[in-house]
Amino acid sequence: MGIPVDDVTDTTAYNSCVQWDSLKHLQMVAKFEETFGIEIGMDDIIAMENYGKVKNILIKYLT
């Protein structure tokens, strides 16, 4: 998304982040699925609305 790593916190959110739009979100999910060999359910894709939630949901799939 082009956001500097140091600027990303658990509260970095879709709603307030200009770069994080629905297309980028879809690409991000596709990348997670490919990288980790998982398939993320629709409810979880929708729930990934900030970085903290993204991490928690990924942990759920990877443990």
Binding site: A30, I45, I46
Partner: protein, 495 residues
Amino acid sequence: MNFVDYLFKHQQDPEKECILFRDGCLTYRDLTSKVDDLAAYLTIMVGSDKECLLISENTPFFIITYLAIIKSGNIALLAETRISDEQLGTIIRDCNIRTMFVQKKFRSKVKNNVSIFDEDLLPALPYIDGYVSPPADDDAVAVVIFTSGSTGAKKGVMLTHRNLSTNTESIVQYLGLNSKDRICASLPFFYCYGASLLHTHLRVGGSVFLSNNIFLGGVIRDIDTFSCTGFAGVPSTYQILINKTSFLKEKLLPLRYMMQAGGQLPNKYIRMIAEAFPEKKFYVMYGATEATARMSYLPPDLVLKKLGSIGKGIPGVTLEVLNEHGNPIQPGETGEITARGNNIMKGYYRDPEDTRNVIKNGRFYTGDLATIDDEGYIYIIGRAKNIIKAGGYRISPNEIEEFICSIEGVTDCVVVGIPDEIMGEAVVAVVQADKVTESIGEDEILTRCKQHLPSYKIPTAIHFVEEFPLNASNKVDRQAITASIITKQGKRGIR
């Protein structure tokens, strides 16, 4: 008549829900009152006939501001939220923008020395009782929409009060909309297709649900939760829903109809939707910003019989396919789609030369090539600008794309022309493979092409992508794809 007055002319129930969103709703009384308050403020602060720029996602802020700008006799310039800083700077400078309405989220985009208002303005406005819009010339410009620029630089399309009212009336008529209709709006209002959803539903006293989801799949839940009767999408909308969600297995009980425009959806997806939802109406439509929004539609009962057709002109639009001599084509021949009607734009903003290139004698030349069948139904062959010129042949990408898409294991395909020293241009196919099967390979696609396509239409190379780059209106960005292939080939030498 002022377009906003036209929209609310038949409004009968001020307490009816009008704009719904996840956290609440606006009734018709709420909306018209806020629009009047802001319109009155604008009349005092800005005057009339001034360009006011609006940058916002689909929010109550967008809707109130958009309608207030028009109602006050000013001109709403709509910029996409993904606009680059450079393009935004150009618009602000070239359009002499003095007043801007910018959703807080996008405030950082604007650094210019102009009056900027955001959501905080609305609650602070004084209450105005009975604001009356200034007398409107029907042919005065009400809105400028910047086209997404899939084939070139951005152009501002000037739409008049008459353009907007005429097209709204036609769409209401052929969709059979009424006050019970509620559209699930996921398309941006800053483009003509999304704006038409807003216009038509306000005109009939219906309602609009703002389906702002982080993931498009959320519309499936929204349609049920908010009892939406209509849904609108561009090709990528349906392709994402079909390939990434359980869309085709859903019941979507409240839904009466779905519609698709904004480019050609491959036939296999049209068939999937029509067969999965036989009890719902599925409208395939065709339009352009220069025609306010809509030019044609295919009646839902013909979607499978006339698969791939964009139908015929909508009420009030004369849609004709003309040959190079300006005469209507015969079935089987190819020509350019042209349109006449009160929905055709006034022109491109401050660009009389480009306006003259596309509007001649009141007729809009779309640049889309098409053929017709024996009953006059129109089938698009390709966009004149996308035609590939290879080895003396003029090749439309559509037929090749449609064929490759029909191969099992292929989700989507885009065919482009890449500069080639010998052929002029080489046909190159870019394929998105089905993630589930992932068994399709270059050899298999080429073998199938060799079996079914004439030799000059067989791609010289197949590239695979995970996702296609999309422009802001969610159309596949052919220029970006072409540039990416040229870059790749440059790195390893053009074959």
